[in-house]
Point group: C2
Chain length 294, copies 2
């Protein structure tokens, strides 16, 4: 019998990853989401069970992919209470895709080992379209043997797959990627905002940026959107705020002075406080363009 | 008779630009530098006059290229005092390459017009090797007719030549390029510094950055140098401090809140205060790597 795969957390990322695996011929047996309607819809679409409890997912699946929003949610589904993925989990492998603190991945590994299960962190440095197309950039942390065991699933989700090291290490790299990306994004918002205030042609300015030392990946992904105020969400401001905080805390724990990281965290916190947290991270430009927000 | 070209400021940028134009068959007639030894050496190398006064350059040259360090120096060579480029300047064209405030370019244009001369700002978004090879990225501001008139000289200095708009506008774009570049550089230094503190393999980390949303031009130019502490100067920390201040002041004048620009200015100011201002801007990593500087 083929390996069966369950999903916990089937928002736009998790849902698209499940669709992609189904397309590739995997057996998606059960899906669960706190938002029951989401899970019901996807279960119907994929011909899977709509699991009403976490334990039901563990009971049905060999491999469980979790895509939750933050540390609290990640810890909650692996808690020792009424309903938990840990119930009857012996022999299961959990692939945890949330962007969370490295320490939480270490803790989840400890909890899964305690019940005879295994876990792997699979940190994604890509967004919703890549999830659907199976072209995620995946960085994995945990035991190498666990990585090798679930590799067929990981391969079908990703175009770039990388084993980083023990539990927590992939999350560290992911935190650093997002830290630098978020700073570069906030920097670009300042450059374009000031350019507009000076009366410069922003199409020209972005072209010059692209040809000089100001060039960056976020210029390609977010530059035009900042100009056009098109903040349809691929990577939310709230996520950027969360990730900036993870990096900032790691820096503080390491005793480092990281002033740009701190300034960026405050910008995304401000974006969230202004009620713009569910827009794309490009919305940070709303804070730096004259007359957009106070 | 061919157009004769004079140079004022023949440090590593100006000197290499003069060498390049000489190679391309231009007539370099006179060179001047406050550091008289520098000018004497280059004059000897290029078979030019070592001008002892600014007025001597104006007397000998049709086109005068100035490459000075800052606003004060730029204004000083166009002052109305004992010795000035303005003396007998009727019909001359000045090409001013320093990275200075937009307002200074406007003022220089006013002063040159008052004596029947013309000026053009030619802002360089490249460094010393590109100056020598004639592959500068040049952004020009001033009258379009002046730009067209000196175009043969500009073409031989650059691989990318761009007319931006009236006096001051190219300096604005240059300030924005450097602002974003300097922020991205300081961001990269934080990412790599934190990566090292976490015990990550920095070769791996730079590779991941290059493949993800953390990618940037400065990752290519400065990443390995930050890791190796190789801060041989292409673009000095002191210049980054100056440019960051220009951008930060422009932002303040425009009434914008640019916290990353401010944080970056403070980092480069700190670099200078620690006596590292003459190292490359990559030395900002000395502030973010554990145990390098307090």
């Amino acid at each position: 019998m083929s390996t069966s795969i369950g999903f916990v957390g089937v928002g736009r990322m998790g849902g698209n990853m499940a669709r992609r695996l189904k397309d590739q011929g995997h057996n998606i047996c059960a899906v669960y989401d706190r938002a029951s309607g989401l899970a019901a819809e996807l279960a119907n679409e994929l011909g899977a069970t709509h699991a009403r409890t976490l334990a039901e997912v563990t009971a049905q699946a060999d491999i469980i992919v979790t895509v939750v929003t933050n540390d609290d949610a990640q810890l909650a589904i692996f808690a020792n209470d009424d309903d938990s993925l840990l119930m009857g989990a012996q022999g299961r492998v959990f692939i945890n895709c949330a962007t969370i603190t490295p320490a939480t991945h270490v803790e989840i590994e400890r909890r899964t080992h305690a019940v005879g299960a295994a876990s792997l962190e699979a940190c994604m440095a890509s967004s919703i379209p890549q999830a659907r197309q199976g072209t995620l950039y995946l960085m994995c942390g945990g035991d190498r043997t666990v990585f090798d065991r679930v590799r067929p699933v990981l391969d079908d989700l990703s175009s770039d797959l990388r084993y980083i090291g023990p539990a927590g290490s992939a999350a560290q790299v992911k935190a650093l990627v997002n830290m630098v990306m978020n700073i570069n994004t906030a920097a670009l918002a300042e450059g374009l905002g000031l350019g507009q205030a000076l009366g410069l042609d922003l199409d020209m300015l972005r072209e010059v940026f692209a040809q000089t030392g100001a060039n960056s990946q976020v210029l390609k992904t977010d530059g035009a959107d900042m100009q056009a105020r098109d903040h349809e969400c691929y990577f939310s401001g709230a996520h950027a705020a969360k990730d900036s905080t993870i990096a900032w805390v790691l820096g503080a724990q390491a005793g480092l002075n990281l002033p740009l990281s701190a300034a960026t965290k405050l910008q995304y916190d401000r974006l969230v406080a202004l009620g713009l947290g569910d827009q794309d991270k490009s919305a940070v430009a709303e804070l730096t363009f004259k007359g957009r927000h106070a």
